[in-house]
Amino acid sequence: MSDTPRRNPRMEWILRNRLHPEHEMLAAARNGPTRGPTGLLRKNPHAVGFIGPHGIRRIDRSAGLSGGASGSSSGGRGRSTGAKVELPLHRVDNPDFYVAVVVDLVAGRLSSHDRDILGQARLLVQGAEEQGAVVAVALGEAREANFELAGADRLVSLTELNGRPLSGYCPEHRLAVLEAVESQLAPRFWLFPDSIHGGADLGSRLSARLGERPAVHAWKVDAQQTVCRGGTQRTDWHRPTARVLLLAEECALPVDETRHEAKPIELDTLPDVSALIEDLGPVDVDPSKIALGEAEFILSAGNGIRDWDQFHAVATALGATEGASRVAVDDGHMPRGRQVGATGTWVTARVYVAVGISGAIQHLQGIGQCDKVIAINLDDSCDMIKRADLSVIGDSQAILGELLRLAAARQDNPDTASDDAATDMTEEARHVA
């Protein structure tokens, strides 16, 4: 018998005819890949979609976003099915050189500035002929810092040096760690975010120590040439790329198409430092003096607030800057300067507590940059609840009263305040019972 594939007109007819009693069986048998007469792999354009209840073919092109009949779509090849996409892993086994990135880790997270710098490091590695690796140097506690997705091939992570935690202001200790990295890995480039969160300070210290002349406020960098912004943003300096780079925000696009190893590197020798600068800790500042746009922690009030004295007392007890929605300001409960939202101030708070605010779109735009949003509201279907990371459904006055009590308990006895609250709660539960 010859190998020439032969057509079977009867089988094709049965496959075309959905009502034929043998159709189901033959269609199931032909589900695999089909080969054309020359042996080429053929795609069956008719095999998309499924037959709806009225016998009409339905094709779901929503890629699983509509949430409707996506589960029953069949054979949708080439379409993303809404599942979590696993990015390809970029592997570097034996790097010829390193590019070191010292990340800021504001509040333990990679900031967007940090991600931009890691993206720039990736570009510098890609531009070279040898194989290079990006080393992220993370000093201090990292929480929710996804170094794999941010583009770090290697990771030097230290939370303490000789028993002294690397939190607070300890530039001498941090510099000592960077010097240890320098002696062990000898990175080709040192990249720092030119930020007020400590990146610029540390980068300047390292370049003074290494005797390198850094490129500061650099915003356009390749392996040869760098463009830096001069004083008061009025000039551009074109110069050869320095070894230490202090990079401006948005200097490069963050890494988003690959996954990286973030393989930890242990430092061989940890230096011994005696620090001259002593950190005496943060000083309490009057939260009402901080501009709303740059406040870190905002307690914001809306239409749901009845007892304004209590609201002010809670803000004082928690040490939060006060904000308000447009309604609260229009009603005269708060000054116009405290209004949060598109028509007021665009806030950048790390933690934003919205009390009795349902979340108009202008308000949600204004809090777009906030990290953690906590909502206290009676209505569990409002837009603020959808935006919030933690939502509490209940009467705001009662919950604020409890918060006030908890804050007072913490101030009296900061260590055991939470334990006290827990025992109080069990007692109260007993009374209720």
């Binding site: 890629a63 976003l65 379409r79 509040a107 202001y169 300070d201 210290r205 003074a208 002349r213 850094p214 500061v216 406020h217 830096c228 001069g230 004083g231 008061t232 943003q233 009025r234 000039t235 551009d236 300096w237 110069r239 948005e250 001259l276 600068i277 002593e278 005496l280 943060p282 000083v283 500042v285 740059e294 406040a295 922690f297 928690l318 040490g319 790390r350 933690v351 507590v353 779109i361 949600l364 569990d380 935006r387 919030a388 990371d389 933690l390 939502s391 459904i393 209940g394 009467d395 919950i399 409890e402 918060l403 908890l406 804050a407 913490r410 939470s418 609250a421 109080d424 709660m425 539960a429």
Partner: protein
């Protein structure tokens, strides 16, 4: 407590430039450093400038703050200020040297205090807002942090500090005081900054705005990305429980975020 006549404070000042009009003026952060120096040591505080001594370039405005004199270390525009300052500071015996964070003209790398501190072996504190007190050879320094926060540091004398824009505003300058103030020259030989000669300087080009690119595969994905409302990934919602439990949950989050101490 202030002014303390025994304290030797020096401020390093540079010629400033208005960010919009480009007009010469005192540099805002340097003027704050001078103000802090005047507060701490009164008329005994020294002010040092490296340059060609053009009084119109902003020096008049520093003198107008009530300074009797400015020490002028002569150098031309191509000179490197660091070796000149280093030599001068080694000769004098200052307790505290104050500068701004960045210059307002030229490269504005902000490296001068770091290089001086490294080569003098002094500690450096960046972005200070105030110096609270000096006693027993140590100073308590208030450092300005982002978001209006402050931190207290203790530093042994002598040290260098860069003064942040969060420090107290510089006082108004007066024409008469500026006329009375003198520039005291010191003869120096300033080396030329060779590396800088090879760089080119151009008026700043506007930086391209970053576009938000939707990397969607299908038209439906792109539509969704363009029209979607900003929403979180669905946080936790607490409906049941007493008010106390709800308040405790909020408090725990606030404490874990570190905003409530």
């Amino acid at each position: 407590m202030w002014p303390d006549p025994d304290l030797k404070v020096a401020s390093l000042v540079s010629n400033g430039q208005h960010p919009k009009s480009g007009r010469s003026r005192r540099a805002s952060q340097d003027a704050r450093a001078v103000e802090l120096g005047l507060k701490m040591a009164g008329a005994a505080s020294r002010v040092i400038h490296v340059g060609d001594g053009d009084r119109e370039g902003g020096l008049d405005q520093y003198l107008g703050m009530g300074l009797p004199e400015i020490t002028l270390l002569n150098a031309d525009e191509q000179a490197d200020a660091v070796p000149v300052l280093l030599e001068y500071l080694k000769g004098a015996s200052f307790d505290i040297v104050l500068t701004g964070v960045h210059a307002e003209q030229g490269e504005a790398s902000g490296m001068v205090p770091y290089l001086l501190a490294e080569q003098l072996g002094w500690p450096l504190v960046s972005h200070i807002a105030d110096i609270r007190k000096v006693e027993g050879g140590r100073a308590e320094v208030l450092q300005a942090l982002p978001r209006g926060q402050r931190r207290l540091l203790r530093v042994p004398l002598p040290f260098i500090a860069t003064v942040d824009s969060a420090a107290a505003d510089a006082r108004q300058y007066a024409f008469g005081a500026a006329r009375r103030g003198r520039l005291v020259d010191a003869i120096t030989d300033a080396p030329v900054d060779q590396a800088r000669q090879e760089w080119t300087c151009a008026p700043a080009k506007p930086r391209p705005k970053r576009l938000h690119v939707a990397k969607a595969k299908s038209a439906a994905d792109r539509f969704k990305a363009a029209t979607a409302k900003p929403q979180g990934q669905g946080g936790s919602v607490i409906r049941e429980g007493t008010d106390q439990e709800k308040a405790t949950a909020i408090m725990e989050l606030l404490v874990s975020e570190g905003v409530v101490r």
